[in-house]
Symmetry: C2
Subunit: 186 residues, 2 copies
């Protein structure tokens, strides 16, 4: 079940470096792409960074709308992560093509990707130089939710859930790691 | 044994989102700090991003020298990662205090942290606005090496090595994940 995540703790959804799906919408069109290059930038108000290449259709939609969602997919969705990371949504709707379902979000018009384990809804903090020179976007997180099967009380609890619900860490050429063993240093 | 990593593939050392140790040196002083907020920014020439807070001693050394190293620590070093992430090196040498040894690097004056599984030696790409407003630094990777026990032929191979050599993913409050199971999507 999805539960709200306190905004000051939203960075914890992304702190371990999972691969994300970036969803966006503008002018009645929508798209979803994979991104390994996303991370927190600040705690409170929470900000994130994500690299969105100039060649992508998502880039157009994000620049038009000033919004995007970082969806955190799980191992059950790995094949779809690769698919939406390698095809363009310019000609065909990538949700339909990949079998990923779109769900309404809380604070932005971009759709959420159904079945993901967490969502960070973001408004672009305009930084034209970063966007043009480095394809680098800053987003302020305006809403965050996570599946309470795996994230509760401000911490991930993958150890209690099925392995198919673990987050993903992409390398290259279809090679991933799942998020592994949890441990604590006192 | 450390082996050179082709610069065009250096992003793969960081693509799965591991926590890093940032080492730096200037004017005969040196320091090391932990950072969960580091990621690739570009492939070739490879660039990286890292967030370095204004309050840190490392920030002074990096701004003076224009150089830093992203060292990728392993599970055997988790307690030291927490230690150098919570103490300052302004008064005492943090290498000595933590028991981490410093080794010479290939292309920069900053020291490498002994026992890490990979090293990305970086020169700062000056972006004063990002540095001042967001504590965000861009580095161009000028040399990269990895321990061939865990990274060979452009890919991580944690499955062949001891679990103590896996990379780390920090959340908060001493809680980590180890890098987990490797799998491929065709």
């Amino acid at each position: 079940m999805l539960a709200d995540v306190e905004l000051a703790k939203a960075y914890r959804l992304l702190n371990h470096g999972p691969t994300v799906l970036v969803s966006s919408a503008a002018g009645g069109r929508r798209n979803v792409m994979a991104a390994a290059w996303a991370m927190p930038l600040d705690f409170d108000p929470p900000k994130v960074l994500v690299v969105i290449d100039k060649s992508t259709y998502s880039r157009e939609l994000i620049e038009q709308s000033g919004e995007f969602i970082l969806n955190i997919p799980c191992r059950a969705q790995a094949a779809q992560v690769v698919q939406v990371g390698s095809e363009t949504g310019r000609d065909d709707d990538k949700f339909a093509a990949s079998g990923l379902a779109a769900l309404p979000a809380q604070r932005v018009a971009a759709p959420r990707v159904a079945g993901c384990i967490a969502y960070l809804e973001c408004k672009v903090v305009p930084e034209p130089h970063n966007q043009q020179r480095y394809d680098l976007f800053i987003g302020e997180v305006v809403a965050a939710q996570a599946d309470d099967a795996v994230f509760r009380a401000g911490h991930w609890h993958f150890e209690d859930a099925d392995a198919s619900q673990r987050s993903l860490h992409y390398i290259a050429g279809g090679a991933f790691f799942a998020t592994g063993e949890a441990f604590n240093v006192a």
